[in-house]
């Protein structure tokens, strides 16, 4: 039994009845919070990520200031390519840059796949410290990027509207792509298991770019690796998969060992339920831009969203990360609207 006081999120993922849905927001520990911006002015990105005290402080901010039902550790999906030996530069407001991309088999062979826990010990330390500081108030979420999304960055070297270099690599050298995806998968499984040991009560796998793939290519380059991760890590903690843009994969993924599926706002609640048949918990899917609407409208649409999904087997969230230009009281209105549901 859990000794977490507010365990709504864990109950929802187990399919237990709840009085109201739990709520958290992707990127809730971040750029819309003035206290985060203050820290950003003092410490650069990787200092914030790699210093457990800073990561812990940032992780707790939205729990204290916005009232979410879960904390998600402040980190980045690109710590895995970094731990595998690739250089990752992060320029504030510009997105990531990986100067030496994966081009051939030698590059893949040179990737480091052992000592993942040691190389990422700062994440484990941040989780342990945060777990202690949370003192059982709410569950702590760990996370990683999905193999396909990490391949995108490791091959393309930066963000892209099309990730066509990454796709070209996959389409022209599929055997190499699968070798790379398997290496990322193996490291990610070790990483997420270590996160569970360090204090994560559940984990989410972000496949931010899966929607770039056709349904057929998703089944080749994304799905098998998501399934491997869900199968391996579910033995330790519940796993939420978030294949952004891949509504076409919801039915397949509802038959895996994942406890939850994250949704973006292109899917209606009723269709998502229809595709997943209440086999697992759904999470999402408020358009992040709608937090820029007037507060009464936010509250009205949150209510409609919960009406659509129902109270049980549901986690209220956005359909993607919160935008930097969202006023804090609008973020709070989103959270409050979920908490007020039905009352």
């Amino acid at each position: 039994m859990s000794n977490i006081k507010n365990d709504l999120l864990l109950k929802a993922l187990r399919g237990e009845e709840v009085s109201r849905p739990p709520v958290w927001m992707m990127r809730q520990a971040g750029r819309y919070l003035p206290d985060y911006i203050k820290l950003r002015q003092k410490y650069d990105f990787f200092t914030r990520v790699e210093t457990p005290e800073l990561a812990c402080e940032i992780t707790l901010q939205p729990v204290d200031q916005v009232g979410v039902d879960a904390a998600i550790i402040f980190s980045d999906i690109l710590v895995i390519p970094q731990a595998m030996g690739m250089e990752v530069l992060m320029e504030e407001g510009k997105g990531p840059l990986l100067p030496s991309v994966i081009k051939n088999e030698a590059d893949i062979d040179n990737l480091i796949t052992d000592a993942t826990e040691e190389r990422l010990s700062y994440v484990m330390n941040a989780l342990s410290l945060t777990k202690q500081e949370l003192n059982g108030r709410v569950p702590l979420i760990g996370f990683a990027g999905a193999p396909w999304t990490l391949l995108c960055y490791m091959v393309e070297g930066k963000g892209s509207k099309t990730f066509d270099k990454a796709k070209q690599f996959c389409f022209t050298q599929p055997a190499l792509a699968h070798k790379l995806l398997q290496k990322i998968t193996d490291v990610t499984i070790k990483y997420l298991k270590a996160q569970a040991v360090a204090g994560a009560d559940l984990v989410q796998v972000f496949d931010s770019w899966s929607g770039m793939l056709s349904p057929a290519d998703f089944k080749i380059f994304a799905q098998p690796y998501l399934v491997q991760i869900a199968d391996a890590v579910s033995k330790d903690v519940p796993v939420i998969l978030f294949p952004k843009g891949s509504w076409y994969a919801l039915e397949d993924l509802s038959h895996t060992s994942a406890a939850g599926l994250g949704l973006d706002w292109s899917v209606t609640p009723s269709l998502a339920r229809q595709l997943t048949g209440n086999r697992l918990t759904l999470q999402g899917n408020f358009d992040p831009s709608k937090l820029l609407a007037p507060i009464p409208q936010i509250k009205k649409e949150v209510k409609e969203m919960i009406d659509g999904f129902g109270i049980n087997r549901y986690v209220a969230n956005l359909g993607h990360g919160i935008l930097p230009n969202v006023p804090v009281d609008h973020a709070r209105a989103f959270v409050d609207a979920v908490k007020e549901y039905g009352s």
Copy 2:
């Protein structure tokens, strides 16, 4: 009766039986063709768009060099905001910039909505000249941006990963948004009707950013205006609607007066047919990045795509614009694979 020798595209849009599907490629007159790049080095973007001889030459290049079954006039969706009085800058390789965006009702009131044909006479001249030069070889396609997509640029001022400023405008000032969308719609209808008079045998409406909207918001801010345009312009020429990313709208849009619906590659042929019930012609939906795959693989997957859609009521195309880094012989392989289908 049409006096066009290769009228496969018009037949497909009328639902008539064809020996094989017609094929063209979005952005086929453009950046992957060496002869286009030569012209780009000599003339800036708006010179190419506004000089009928240049626009005509560029429009014909893929007909001559790649063998597509239709020509699409070389132009840009932002000629409409320009004709409505907004400044549009186009920096090569950087995307558009509109320095003075729409902020309030006065900005909307100041937009020019009359003399659209005169202000865009260079497009009509380019169409007439191209029609003449084509000499009935293949049909000529005209086009415009959809009102929602044009609003995105007119309010945001440039491309965006989220178009959250445009959405904020819509969510906080819906009455103004609808006033703007209606003005764009009125001008677009006049523009497309004038294109038909000038020689366009059919037109396509590009809603490039409709997939940013939730299904509910699409019905509010995109669909009514697409329907108005389809209803008005279908009286003159067949209309293809391309709501990129809005697979959720396919069923609704199949009940409009549109002759065709463009699809991106996130939808399988079978689901698209299921949603649209053979009520109209489907167009698409090859992943543009897949043209970077080896030629045998392109040919194999084109065959599978046509197997999926069937020969009739189908137009082979990409799911978005052709990428600049596609080798010309790969583009030709795509076209050839369609032409060889079944033989």
